[in-house]
């Protein structure tokens, strides 16, 4: 009887756990809570991260934060928003930087937590982190302006 109860409990709990994991998957684009914009389109984010848009509407230059090209969060972001592999986007930036042609290249940070910290402190900053990291850090002074709902790559 106990065995069946355990099985029943596992059966009932498993979908809940899966649903919870699915809710936490994905990537969120965050800006400082003082930023006037509450929502950004994918196109706008694409243009910001491609240096095609250099300033916010309130006139300040954009500070872009990026993760390492090997980070699965960056891989998903690059593929979904920029339309290219993270490594190819990194190559493009390397080319721009090496020729000193990059106007406002993204600042690459190693951890999502650092991105949350930086964005929470700089009004004109924008970054992206996994939804899980955003929730677990109980990020303050930042707000989500765009959500990518997809599973993170391996």
């Amino acid at each position: 009887m106990r065995f069946f109860l355990i099985l029943l409990s596992l059966f009932l709990l498993h979908p809940l756990g899966a649903a919870s994991a699915a809710e936490d998957s994905g990537v969120v684009v965050i800006v400082n809570s003082k930023n006037e914009l509450n929502q950004l389109s994918r196109r706008t984010i694409f243009r910001l991260y491609s240096n095609y848009k250099l300033e916010w509407g309130f006139g300040e230059s954009v500070i872009l934060y990026d993760l390492l090209p090997t980070n699965p969060v960056r891989k998903l972001f690059s593929r979904q928003v920029l339309g290219r592999d993270a490594s190819r986007v990194a190559e493009r930036w390397a080319h721009m930087k090496i020729t000193n042609q990059a106007i406002n290249p993204p600042i690459v940070l190693k951890s999502e937590w650092m991105i949350i910290r930086k964005v929470s402190r700089q009004k004109n900053a924008i970054g992206y982190v996994s939804l899980r990291a955003f929730k677990s850090r109980r990020a303050r002074n930042v707000k989500i302006v765009y959500t990518i709902q997809a599973e993170l790559p391996e």
Partner: protein, 474 residues
């Protein structure tokens, strides 16, 4: 037995029944009554003691409950203050224990004592744990602040240090071109140095060593005995960049004409051979000043560059003619959800042979996900002082496709030098496969077929195997 004997004696002496009862009372009932009273007194005393204990314990319990409430409030407050930390919720089991012990007061005093002592211990422990946790969180936050300031200091130091970057490429070429043989080539070794001198001020330079330069003099007379390869200061400028919108550079810079002339470094382009128009229709670099101004009409971006330079064929030291070269480039990125750039360039100069030259160019870079089309067109009008004008025209179109670590590319080149001369067209067809070992280590295989209208110049083909690396992408 004694009582039965007494009764028998009473039956025998019925006349003396009254005195017998008195004697019996004195003998049996009175002592037992006294004993009972004693016991009752003792019990009463015990009960009074127990009641006192119960009162003391209930007072203690009330105090503990108050402590729990204070702890709950403190815990909630801590939770609000330190949101970044997972704070355990107030331990309801402890509160329940207290409640349970309160209800147990209705039972025996022994039960109350048995439940209350562990509860007190638990409360003390939880107090200690909370204090420890708060202390460790404060220490943790302090450590984070230290690390952040340390990181900012490191970044600041790195920003102010001299940054070194560059790229290198080696190749092996198979060719059937007359006068050339197959072999290795130490193609390029370029070093970039960048230094943020002060806020908004930067020095940037590129030193290029092509084909492993070697210069040697004769020790007897200092005459140069050997010169091989090419050593070149391809770029060296001081840049003032107060805003992302605009900057100005002074020194030697890559001539802002089209795409390839600026973005041409081996690890980042699919072919080792450059398009035919390069180094023919306009100079690779210019000595002078250049102004860039960028602005966003809506979500589009317009980049504009204007420059004034000595012009073609002049060393870095002075201008060999009185006229200055002027030029400009405009690049438009429309508001699309993909990489798309197009624009125009112009370069106007009167060279050292007194030939006034004006080159116009158009360029396009369109990328749809992993597919990219890059094309340029350049048209130069040459006006010699005492001769008939002539034109040079060139164009190329390159299609590339990124497939995981691979890049496939194909390019068509065309060049017409001096349109007044017959048979002045030359063509090149290129196919290339790149493999990206890493984002800065690329292997290439490239096939070129070169064709000329002029029968004097023999067509030739070549296959180039190359390896290109980039160091330090700043």
């Amino acid at each position: 037995m004694l009582f039965q004997s007494f009764l028998r004696a009473c039956q025998c002496n019925r006349d003396r029944l009254g005195p017998c009862f008195i004697v019996g009372f004195l003998l049996f009932v009175a002592p037992s009554q006294a004993l009972c009273d004693e016991r009752i007194d003792r019990i009463e005393k015990t009960l009074k003691l127990m009641q006192q204990k119960i009162e003391a314990l209930s007072l203690e319990n009330r105090q503990l409950k108050e402590k729990v409430q204070v702890m709950e409030a403190a815990s909630k407050q801590r939770g609000h203050i330190l949101q970044a930390v997972t704070t355990p919720p107030p331990d309801s089991s402890k509160v329940n224990t207290s409640n349970h012990s309160t209800s147990s007061l209705a039972g025996t005093a022994g039960d109350v004592v048995a439940t209350e002592i562990p509860s007190t211990v638990k409360e003390t422990e939880s107090n200690d744990e909370a204090a420890d946790e708060k202390f460790s969180m404060d220490a943790f936050q302090e450590r984070v602040r230290e690390l952040e300031s340390s990181q900012e200091e490191t970044i600041s130091r790195l920003d102010s240090s001299v940054k070194v970057g560059g790229y290198a490429s080696v190749e092996y070429g198979f060719t059937n071109d007359r006068g050339r043989s197959s072999g290795f080539r130490v193609r390029n070794f370029s070093l970039f140095f960048s230094k943020a001198i002060q806020k908004n001020w930067q020095l940037f330079s590129e030193l290029e060593f092509e084909d492993a330069p070697f210069i040697q003099s004769n020790p007897n007379n200092n005459a140069i005995s050997t010169v091989q390869g090419k050593f070149l200061v391809e770029q060296m400028y001081i840049k003032y960049h107060p805003s992302v919108r605009w900057d100005i550079v002074a020194g030697r810079y890559l001539t802002p004409f089209g795409i390839w002339n600026v973005y041409h470094y081996d690890p980042y382009v699919p072919t080792q051979r450059r398009p035919l128009m390069l180094r023919v229709l306009f100079p690779v670099f210019s000595d002078g000043i250049r102004l860039r101004y960028s602005f966003n009409p809506g979500l589009a971006l317009i980049n504009s560059e204007f420059y004034l330079a000595n012009g073609t064929g002049n060393p870095g030291r002075f201008d060999r003619n009185v006229s200055k070269a002027i030029g400009g480039k405009i690049n438009i990125t429309p508001n699309l959800l993909t990489d798309m750039n197009f624009g125009a360039s112009i370069f106007r100069d009167k060279d050292n042979l007194n030939v006034a030259r004006t080159t116009y160019g158009l360029h396009l870079l369109a990328r749809y996900h992993d597919l990219a089309l890059q094309a340029e067109f350049a048209h130069r009008v040459n006006n010699p002082l005492n001769a008939v004008s002539f034109r040079d025209v060139s164009a190329y179109a390159q299609l590339s496709y990124d497939l995981d670590r691979w890049t496939l590319a194909a390019r068509y080149d065309w060049l017409n030098v001096n349109s007044r001369l017959p048979l002045s067209n030359s063509y090149r067809y290129t196919g290339a496969v790149n493999y990206h070992f890493w984002h800065n280590v690329i292997g290439k295989i490239e096939y070129n077929r070169n064709r000329f209208d002029n029968p004097v110049i023999k067509d030739f083909q070549e296959v180039i195997l190359s390896l290109a690396v980039a160091i330090g992408d700043f």
